[in-house]
Homo-oligomer: 315 residues x 2
DNA sequence: GGAAACAATCGCTTTTCACGATGGCGCCGG
DNA sequence: CCGGCGCCATCGTGAAAAGCGATTGTTTCC
């Protein structure tokens, strides 16, 4: 008795439902067509297709200049159809917002980056995308993992399927109490047996200390802490000197501290590399993509601050 | 930097979202295609079309035998897409239920029909469609209106844009106290000046009484009430006779009351017509359509009960 | 009786859909 | 290291459909 019923969900077309809603609101196929940018005949066929899908007429056409009227079946379809269209509109809006850079981004970071680079990155990102949701997490440095992070700042290689971009060569410099060393550039050998305060043996630290050993210099590590302020306080107090990456020194503003002096090492210890990592082969959200760009810019500017040889314009 | 964003809501196709969901669940385009009854290349193109719609990739294709992985954008689309598909499925199910005859039907009725015809109609309708929601309303007989009713039983013409089907010719018969009239068929003239109890002057009643007048018989209406039981009690009490449609007599089971006798009138008063009305030009719900069919059958059976000349089979 | 408003229908062109075949790419086992 | 293998993208093709303009048919109103 009834015609064939709805074969599959996907036989429905949002276009048809939109046409139906427009017809209901306008009261005629022609006006609905005008509103939707279609022809009357097209709307007529769209409604016909919809009626084929649902297995019965959704409108009664009284003929003549009288407005079409919805059938019981049509009312049912319209009721659900409006919800469907609303959900579709919500999807479209969410996609637009996503493409405009809203949404969430999870960034992993570590100490010096948190202080020097990230604030600028976050600031610029938020300026560009006021609606975005930026989440930072400063992981324990022992076991840095991408996990569910979108981006991870780290100064060494990382396990897993990861890609990265190098942001910055961060050279190791010697921070000593003013007067300890007279020359700006201190030979590595001078540190043999000298008292040093240093970071715990994580991240790039082992590699750096090996470089000392290879150079025949065996400083005495008299104190280890991850706290940069504490470290520098110890240096000021004469407990010893510190070999720290420039970024950490800069972060603590040690360069403008009268009681301290920053020396270069001769020969230089190969710098640690500050990198920004992400899971390999993954498409970034616009937000993440932009964050990478900004981080590269910020790091580049930072390199210029340290060594203002070549000027680089930026918009 | 980003491609063009979603033009219109209707650019989305449920088919594409379904394909995407299948790919996510199956982990590969090919298996998703198999599940959906498509070819791998078709699914590939569907996903490509979806990606064009949302302005970016929804999957990362790592290449090789590794399963595709969803992108942040894809996750967003999928999340909304699933809801959309669920709503579409809900629509389809609602339509199916509607076509199967579930849903609501509003029926207007009046006294005798309520007693004799409707119970059978309702019973059969409910048997066929256990999920249906049947609502009856017995209107005041003075101003019968279709209003928002799907169907209306009534014994006269109706204002407004209405179609109807005749269910039954309901002839007027004379109910008298046993012994009042000896012959089965009573000439109209015998009622001139005779005491009658009758219905109030609504519905078909005025037409019927005019028929008396035209025949030169002017009975005395000694009591008017719409209550059939009351009317018959008065007849039993000898207050007078009653001229009632057969349906009302049958409804009150007056035929098997020893104290009463049902006579035909000679010549017969043209019967009232029991009709079933609905608003003109409106497509019926399957439930309403079926209700009409059943009502016609029931009325036909009822006519056979009264005059069992021709047998009519029914399943 | 004719004009006006409206939807259905008919050809027609253009676009899309789905398919099968083919090609490229990354993994894996010999 | 070098073919298989599994996977997705692409291409070409035929069928289907979307959309359009013009026309027809129907009803109402003047």
């Amino acid at each position: 008795m009834t015609g064939s019923t709805l074969g599959a969900v996907t036989d429905l077309e949002l276009r048809h439902l939109a046409a139906m809603a427009a017809v209901v609101e306008e009261g005629s196929f022609g006006r609905a067509a005008a509103r939707l940018g279609y022809t009357q005949s097209t709307v007529s066929q769209q409604i016909a297709a919809l009626e084929r899908s649902v297995g019965g007429p959704v409108f009664d056409r009284p003929g003549g200049p009288r407005p079409v009227r919805i059938t019981p079946l049509g009312a049912l379809v319209l009721e659900h159809g409006r919800e469907l269209l609303a959900k579709a509109a919500a999807l479209a809006e969410a996609v637009d917002r996503f493409q405009a850079g809203e949404g969430r981004i999870d960034i992993g970071t570590f100490q010096s980056v948190s202080t020097v680079i990230l604030p600028v990155v976050v600031r610029r990102l938020r300026d560009e995308h006021p609606g975005c949701d930026i989440r930072l997490s400063e992981e324990e440095p022992e076991a840095p993992q991408i996990g569910d992070l979108d981006l991870l700042f780290y100064d060494g290689p990382l396990d897993g399927d990861v890609e990265h971009v190098k942001l910055l060569d961060d050279p190791y410099l010697l921070v000593a109490r003013r007067g300890t060393f007279s020359e700006h550039s201190v030979p590595l050998g001078r540190l043999d047996g000298a008292p040093l305060v240093a970071w715990p043996s994580t991240c790039d630290q082992p590699r750096m200390e090996e470089a000392f050993t290879r150079a025949g210099a065996n400083p005495k590590i008299v104190f280890r802490t991850a706290g940069n302020e504490t470290l520098l306080s110890m240096v000021r107090a004469g407990m010893g000197s510190a070999v720290l990456p420039w970024l950490a020194i800069h972060a603590a503003d040690a360069e403008s501290d009268d009681r301290l002096r920053v020396h270069e090492l001769r020969p230089a210890i190969s710098p640690r590399e500050i990198c920004l990592h992400w899971r390999a082969g993954r498409t970034h959200s616009p937000l993440a993509a932009r964050a990478i760009e900004i981080a590269v810019e910020v790091a580049s500017d930072l390199a210029d601050v340290r060594l203002p040889r070549r000027r680089r314009g930026r918009s």
